[in-house]
Amino acid sequence: MRISKKNCRKLSDEELVKKSLQDIKYFACLFERYEKKLVRYILRISSFSEEEADDVLQEAFLKIWKNLNKFDSSLKFSSWAYRIVHNTTVSEWRKSKSCGKDQQIKIDDELFENLPSKIDLTKEFQKGDSKREIRKILNNLPEKYSEILVLKFLEEKSYDEISDILKKPPGTIATLIHRAKKAFREEAGRKNILFEL
């Protein structure tokens, strides 16, 4: 017997974690709550197909389940889940790279159609002509810069959340974002494209 959507919605993430430890059915609520967001995130930081992204997500949720007692309520559950999904994706992506897949992380075309618009970078992403260019630029940036730009501007995470996801001090995150923006602008400049960032 599943927990109804209505009952799931009534509970916070932290409550769901506690209840999941007593009754596994509640764990499905957590999965369903984050599934779409996290699949989208996996696709953003890798070039896995949707099916592969689903497998990565399932692998990540198994890790979340195994480590559920480790969850510390001083953290946001979403940050913790993003961290595990991020690490699983990077690790699976590296494994697949070593098996002969493309050497660069690609950002899915379709994904850009659905990007939220909030900041200038995102607006640029939504301009039809820019999408391909931005994708090329992100593909050419080092992984540490592209992943932080994705978290900041596409996932719209705060500095503290990014700090918790990537396990780096908030000061380092600020520096990385600054450098990533600079690297993005320089790469755009090389391609004769001007972006507001």
């Binding site: 599943r2 499905a28 389940w65 195994k66 559920l68 510390d72 001090p169």
Partner: protein
Amino acid sequence: MEKEINKSQELLDKITEEQIKPSPRWHFLLKNYIFWSVFLLFAVFGSIAFSIILYAVIESDFNLLSSACSKIESLFSILPLLWILFLGIFSIVSIFGIRHTKTGYRYSLLKILSFNILLSVFLGALFFYTGGAEKMERIFAKNVPIYKSFEERKISRWSNPENGFLSGIILENKNAKIIFMEDWDGKKWEINFEKAVIKGRIFLEKDTKIKMIGEISVDNVFIATQIGPWERIGKRRNINYQE
């Protein structure tokens, strides 16, 4: 929606079929406590190393030595490089410990390093002033055969009359110009200190331990240009109290 439910059900089925259980909470707590303990333990070790460095520097004869050799040469001769190396290693392990605690990643390396240094300085100074550094250094020298204690190194540095460094215990103060002294090897010396500069508070009387810079004039006669007490003032007072 249907797809979503299927996927979540698939996940629950997999967990149930493979009987995957969440690891117990104590497992994570223990891991966290171990890293905190590593941090604290090695911070304390670092403080001990720092206190011994402090002891070596304060016990050194930098003022006297630097008047005979260059300042850099004197500095290198007094720096306890082994303990500086220990301090470095202990600090690195301590930083490793705190970085691996649950929330350790939130602190920048600079913050952790500054905190570690402050802790080492504070605890190290406390350890030094309670006499712990000296005791620890002696225990170390006694139990590690190849290790030469600061006292031994000091004796060997100041038992080199051919190069102008001599030390020992006053046997007799003959007059305002001459004292008789026995060095650490039991050799007796006549010391002419008529033109010597006295460094530090010292009474040139029987049984006082001294060290000096100068040159040998003839066999067993040493012309001192500078004389100082063998031990620092605070330490001599301590010894007198104990006696």
